[in-house]
Symmetry: C2
Subunit: 300 residues, 2 copies
DNA sequence: CGCTCTGATACCCCGCGGGTATCGCGCCGT
DNA sequence: ACGGCGCGATACCCGCGGGGTATCAGAGCG
């Protein structure tokens, strides 16, 4: 018997267009570190096999992914593409594993569990109402709230840690997800209560963005703070305290009034873009419990 | 040296949530065939290693994916989930490989190549104008037209065979893609020229959907025809001929007038939903040549 | 000019992916 | 009832390749 008839189409990809998740993880590590040694360490392996794996990947794809120069490596055009597409692919793979496990874990008597990613503290009131209304539904699943760091709800949706998320445009992107808009709100400047501007009926973005006595705080991104003036912060509590101490100012959606201190003042901004809270989920999801949650959310 | 410090977050997934593309391909084959022997044959391997691979996958996920009963297998809840999520993941992986290769192939002197999937024969005029306008752009890439079968443009976008596609709502779903609407058109009934209804100024869907003398044709889906009356067809030429012979009727967007025969008659439908042609692309794409193509398309 | 830091090469080994042979078992037929 | 059959699981073996250690090679740099 020779090599099959092979009229199948989807198994066609004659090992040329096939890449393993392991290879992609290796490549991503190198592409991010731009250093084989550190990448190998991060992957918990030795450097030589990593070098070899990347070489094999390049040979299989027939493409140069990295240029090895003195002092580290750089990405080629193809490497840049694989860095993005590969990230999507390994996220999709781990999402598949996580969601399959979650679906199976529900079989042992307990109900389906739905994981909802929300940015800690945001949309608190909306969330409370949503959970209350959903719990009253007939086929309601158990909803686990997954607090997410700054703007990483999309990532959680992509890699399967969450089944749905509350996102806020224009801060988060809805690209790649299905979504429904829930509420729209204006934005406010959160000022120290004793600041001169705190008594104003309203302000503009320009008026609060360049105050010499109140430099904007710098949020940590991936553990590092961007350079510039202003205090470096990592969570909302730090920010709230710094505002109360009269050291900085912040711009937030209206619903942030829920967590304001007495030493804070909220002044509406007239020209800030409106913030829309959406519920979003993977475009291809077929979880019926999720559909029910979305339906409940849009009826609020 | 013990098991590293492991402060890294994204490499955290302690081999529990990690799945290889190979395993997913194996599982998908079984999930589709519902038969280990046939699945193994399709994969070009023997049955025992396939069984073992699935067992290992189930053990690693800690979840039962298939129930083995007499006469074949059935999917569990978790299996159903993995069937969908796994398809997405392997598509994403092969897309990564294909797009990386394409990006690298452009480095050898030739320009970037952009692959645009279009349903053969549809939007012919729009496509001609788009290609003409784009070719005049400064940083225009070479655009390869990839003719796609019935409604498989989405699949091509997902698995990396195409970088962009022309989709038609409500026939195709835009879920998971970024898109821009290009043109909206009404629909027409394509009738045999000598049919009594052919002289009417307009018709309704109800009037043409249940004609006893003109049963609706049955399109092949994945190689098999749905049951029912009416002729079985696999491509548009067959349909055109059958209409010309007075054996069936079809509903098409206005632009289908481009390929009508003299023995055909086109009658506008008053209550058919409008067809919108979109240009769509993977939500995360960062190809600048693609951005230019989209910009050109929206300006038409 | 040697030291250092980088990625590449050389070489080895064992684990695992894949093969063949066979089993266990439920379903048929007569 | 019993033997044949169809199906997935098990047992066992083998060879490749992924991973390890030791070392090389070249480019900066003091």
């Amino acid at each position: 018997m020779d090599h099959q008839d092979r009229q199948d189409s989807q198994d066609r990809q004659d090992r040329q267009d096939t890449v393993e998740v392991r290879e992609l993880r290796y490549f991503l590590a190198v592409a991010e570190e731009l250093h084989f040694g550190r990448a190998a360490e991060r992957l918990g392996m030795a450097q030589p096999p990593l070098s070899r794996a990347i070489q094999q990947l390049e040979r299989r794809l027939g493409v140069l992914l990295l240029v090895r120069n003195r002092r580290g490596v750089a990405l080629t055009e193809a490497g840049e593409v694989l860095r993005h597409e590969g990230r999507v692919a390994v996220d999709a793979a781990t999402a598949a594993a996580r969601r399959a496990r979650r679906a199976g874990a529900g079989n042992d008597g307990s109900r389906t569990r739905l994981v909802l990613a929300v940015k800690a503290g945001d949309s608190h009131d909306l969330l409370r109402r949503l959970l209350g209304a959903y719990a009253a539904e007939a086929d309601a699943a158990e909803v686990e709230i997954l607090p997410s760091g700054t703007c990483e709800q999309g990532e959680m949706l992509r890699d399967g840690r969450a089944d749905a998320a509350l996102l806020h445009t224009p801060f988060n992107s809805l690209a790649g997800f299905d979504s429904e808009a829930l509420v729209t709100e204006g934005q406010i400047a959160v000022l120290p209560a004793r600041h001169p501007l705190a008594t104003r009926p309203h302000l503009t973005l320009a008026e609060v963005s360049d105050l010499p006595d109140l430099p904007l705080a710098r949020w940590a991104r991936d553990g590092v703070h961007p350079p510039g003036p202003g205090p470096a912060i990592t969570d909302q509590t730090q920010l709230a305290q710094l505002i109360a101490l009269g050291r900085t100012v912040a711009v937030y959606p209206d619903s942030a009034r829920a967590w304001l201190w007495t030493e804070h003042a909220a002044v509406p901004l007239t020209d800030a873009p409106p913030v829309v809270t959406h519920i979003a989920w993977p475009a291809h999801s077929r979880l019926l419990a999720l559909a029910a949650l979305v339906r409940t959310a849009t009826r609020l």
